[in-house]
């Protein structure tokens, strides 16, 4: 049984959050949680309008989170998403405001 379960696991996704690409509040909440987890801080200490630079985020984080976020909103995102937008609010607007790359 466990063998069959593990084979099945290879061919299906683990449960992952899916958010509508138009749901700006949910995307913002997901990004805030992800940032808090990365920085090991309480979510209340973070501000969605604070530039990423001030949090000392590196390009590795940007690439990793873009990949994760693509699966959350089920949309292809520009690899430059976190470079062209300076804070969480701008990233959210970019995703919800235009979806030309779906």
């Amino acid at each position: 049984m466990s063998f069959l379960t593990s084979i099945k696991g290879m061919f299906s996704d683990k449960d992952n959050t899916v958010i509508s690409s138009q749901d700006d509040a949910a995307i913002k909440a997901w990004l805030m949680q992800r940032l808090a987890k990365h920085l090991k801080k309480d979510i209340n200490e973070l501000d969605s309008a604070t530039p990423f630079e001030q949090y000392g985020l590196d390009s590795m984080f940007a690439v990793r989170v873009t990949g994760e976020l693509e699966k959350v909103v089920e949309l292809r995102l520009s690899p430059a998403l976190f470079f062209e937008n300076s804070c969480i609010d701008e990233v959210v607007s970019e995703i919800t405001g235009s979806t030309p790359n779906s």
Binding site: F11, S12, D13, V73, E74, S78, N101
Partner: protein, 364 residues
């Protein structure tokens, strides 16, 4: 037009490109193609499938009976052409233009891509990404150039692969795409896509594994190499040359997202190469490409008429050129990096010289 989005040294031709792309943004290009040309004829589709499989298998049988390895080497050319033709059939299956039945399209697509060990759904989804972002500098999945500054920051192995596949190893460019996306469900954003890719992977592992095992049992390593691996590489060579040339040329730029538009990419950033009739037949009109980008669901046998209709509606807009090895040579020796200054390409040596000049300038 906002000048802030233009490359610093954009020339008049580049600016004209952007203006044309902007002008075409809301143009209903697809309406230029008569509805009758979207009608599918399964017999014609199946004929294409049979022709290409026959060429592929026939060439491999000829290799098996070849008197000398040099003759076998020559026979890889038609074997690869057969494999590439099969890919072109899978291409129609992926766009739903092989038949009206999704099951038939999926089945034939999987069978047609066995010679390439390519999971059909993985290829289909990557190809759709290419269609939705053709020559978009950030989002295209096919032959997207990078700038020298990005290249310099890449890991060593990635730089070697880029250097090789953009120049004399161009024939292996699609092998690299296969490597990065064919067996990687995480490449795809939607859960549905990932699960489809996994099913296709399973099919390829079982069917491809069975073929390679049988070949190894009955013909040994020599058979695996000459009857499967080398024809696969020859197919990739056709695949690479064709896809590279469709959207890459010295004067066909990849555009930053702000300058790019879907319509513009469909008609202005694509080159239709003029093939002899026999090659058109064996590649299922794949070189009639702008019409395909405008309306991907037009079946391959209707593409010549679709191209003519598009040309009549938009005279002079479709970029057509005869296929020549000189053009291929120009592409693989000059179109290496994206040049952010001009918006076009830089060769490896041009980029190196520019970097050296900058370093000298900074030292002064």
């Amino acid at each position: 037009m906002n000048d802030a989005h233009l490359p610093k040294n954009a020339d008049a031709k580049y600016i004209q490109y952007i203006e044309h792309i902007e002008a075409l943004k809301k143009e209903p290009l697809g309406k230029a193609i008569p509805k009758a040309l979207f009608k599918k004829n399964v017999l014609k589709s199946l004929a294409g499938f049979v022709i290409s499989y026959s060429l592929y298998i026939g060439s491999i049988i000829a290799i098996a009976y070849s008197p000398h390895w040099s003759v076998s080497l020559l026979l890889l050319l038609p074997a690869g052409l057969g494999g590439w033709g099969l890919h072109c059939i899978a291409h129609d299956c992926g766009h739903g233009s092989f038949s009206n039945s999704r099951i038939v399209n999926t089945l034939v697509g999987h069978l047609a891509l066995i010679p390439l060990l390519y999971p059909f759904h993985a290829w289909r989804h990557v190809h759709n990404m290419h269609h939705s972002a053709t020559n978009n500098l950030e989002m295209d999945t096919d032959w997207r150039p990078i700038s020298k500054s990005v290249y310099d920051r890449m890991p060593f192995i990635d730089r070697v692969v880029y250097l090789f596949t953009r120049s004399f190893g161009f024939w292996a460019g699609t092998v690299h795409y296969w490597w990065v996306s064919a067996f990687r469900p995480s490449f795809f954003p939607q859960k549905k896509q990932r699960n489809e890719v996994r099913r296709s992977m399973l099919f390829v592992i079982i069917a491809g594994g069975a073929i390679i095992t049988l070949l190894a049992m009955y013909t040994g390593l020599h058979g695996v190499l000459w009857y499967f691996v080398l024809p696969l590489l020859a197919t990739h060579a056709w695949f690479s040359v064709t896809t590279l040339m469709h959207h890459t040329e010295e004067d066909v730029p990849f555009l930053e997202r702000k300058n790019w538009s879907l319509n513009g990419s469909r008609i202005l950033l694509t080159t239709d190469y003029i093939y002899p009739k026999w090659l058109l037949l064996l590649t299922h009109n794949i070189s009639i490409h702008a019409a395909h980008h405008v309306s991907p669901t037009v079946p391959f046998y209707n593409l010549p008429k679709a191209q003519a209709a598009l040309e009549a509606a938009y005279p002079g807009m479709i970029r057509q050129a005869p296929f020549t090895f000189k053009t291929l040579w120009r592409i693989i020796t000059r179109c290496h990096f994206y040049d952010p200054q001009t918006g076009y390409y830089q060769s490896f040596s041009q980029a190196k010289n520019t970097s050296a000049e900058k370093t000298a300038h900074n030292a002064d």
